[in-house]
């Protein structure tokens, strides 16, 4: 097969770019431990309510000693629990969420929160809310006929409130 030498050079360049991109991702994933915001840990979805972390009384917002917040949530047909959470603005939040039943998604507009909640896994995301107000939590993975109705809210309030 005849390939024009110029074309050949460009093929090498493109191949190099692809390889570099993959290498960067592999490097960050393997060496720096950076993953997409989900599936950080496994958990038995069927026994979620019997676990310590996702026990009903443990859901919601917890304050850490350094002032940052941990938010524990559960997605279950058809809702997010707790249904409403309140967080102060400009505060680091670590969200950990698990599904009781099927695949769900969690999206909060005006934030970088957009993650899949896969049954059997705990999904984790770090964020900081920078806009005051009430924002819906939306399920963006089709999870059943109640998919549209997974009503829940984040209320971002001023600090020291």
């Amino acid at each position: 097969m005849h390939v024009d030498p110029l074309e050949k050079k460009w093929l090498y360049v493109v191949g190099g770019i692809v390889a570099f991109t993959i290498a960067v991702q592999v490097y960050y994933a393997a060496a720096k431990g950076i993953h997409p915001p989900s599936n950080v840990q496994t958990i038995d979805s069927a026994k979620l309510h019997l676990s310590k972390e996702f026990a009903e009384n443990n859901l919601g917002v917890h304050k850490n000693t350094d002032g940052s917040l941990d938010v524990t949530m559960v997605a279950a047909r058809y809702g997010f629990y707790p249904q409403e959470i309140e967080v102060p603005i400009d505060t680091p939040v670590r969200l950990r969420i698990a599904s009781l039943d099927v695949l769900h998604g969690l999206l909060v507009p005006y934030s970088n929160l957009n993650l899949m909640v896969v049954p059997g896994y705990i999904s984790e995301a770090n964020t900081t809310f920078t806009k005051l107000g009430e924002f819906p939590m939306i399920c963006n993975e089709y999870c059943g006929i109640g998919h549209d109705y997974m009503y829940a809210r984040v209320r971002v309030v001023p600090k020291n409130n």
Binding site: H49, A55, G60, V74, A76, Y81, Q83, I145
Partner: protein
């Protein structure tokens, strides 16, 4: 903030509603810290329920005198008790387990009946009731059609402002229930429906995982509950 106050209130109610007889039998525990139910839908549990023997269940139901309140074919003899005909086996099974270990303590009588039952017994009884068709519109209690119609919006659309999902999203368009343990409600007696919802609303009943029903009941008005009761009683399959 409101929500957490509510939750504290609910927890307090739960703590207060422990029943003396159940206490005596060790069925009731410190509800505030206990999970809403001990039942987990593991593959083993689901397999056990699938293996339920309806015929054995019928025999057991006879021995346990279930028919006295729930009727021979699972259609309640009087308005006060639920019909069990056509109920999802998982739901019946879960209720029996919840009664047994005190997660549901609204009826001490059921706790006492469930205590001697084995897991297999419960699966059998659940299979027995699941083998019937859902009940027809209850007789003896007049159903208010006008009230029933008013509930349609809530059933089909819910109310986003109150974070209220439509009932049908879980309980089905025909009130037939849904996997795994979402109960069927079609043909249920209005009295029982109202009492159940009020028990959820006040927190007297708390065996719904993650308060899924309590949260709904809490934002429903008493009038809406009555409308829904008529709606579901009036649903025929």
């Amino acid at each position: 903030m409101n929500r957490s106050i509510t939750l504290v209130g609910v927890a307090a109610l739960i703590a207060m509603s422990t029943n003396s007889f159940a206490n005596e039998h060790g069925a009731s525990k410190a509800r505030a810290d206990a999970p809403s139910t001990e039942v987990a839908w593991t593959p083993e549990t689901l397999a056990l329920i699938r293996s339920g023997n309806a015929q054995k269940g019928g025999q057991l139901a006879h021995e346990q005198m279930c028919a006295s309140c729930h009727g021979h074919a699972g259609i309640a003899q009087s308005s006060n008790w639920p019909s069990l005909a056509g109920q999802r086996a998982e739901y019946t099974y879960k209720m029996l387990q919840d009664y047994k270990n005190g997660s549901r303590n609204t009826y001490p009588l059921m706790t006492v009946l469930a205590q001697p039952m084995s897991d297999q017994d419960m699966a059998d009884i659940a299979a027995f009731y699941a083998s019937f068709k859902l009940p027809p519109v209850p007789v003896g209690t007049p159903i208010d059609k006008a009230l029933a119609d008013k509930a349609e919006l809530l059933v089909m659309k819910g109310d986003g402002n109150r974070l209220l999902a439509p009932c049908m999203s879980c309980h089905g368009y025909k009130g037939e229930g849904n996997v795994i343990d979402v109960p069927a409600m079609a043909g249920q007696t209005p009295e029982y429906f109202i009492r159940t919802m009020q028990d959820y609303k006040t927190g007297k009943r708390s065996n719904d995982v993650y308060s899924r029903m309590r949260l709904m009941a809490h934002v429903l008005s008493d009038q809406e509950i009555i409308e829904l009761a008529n709606y579901y009683a009036n649903l025929t399959q």
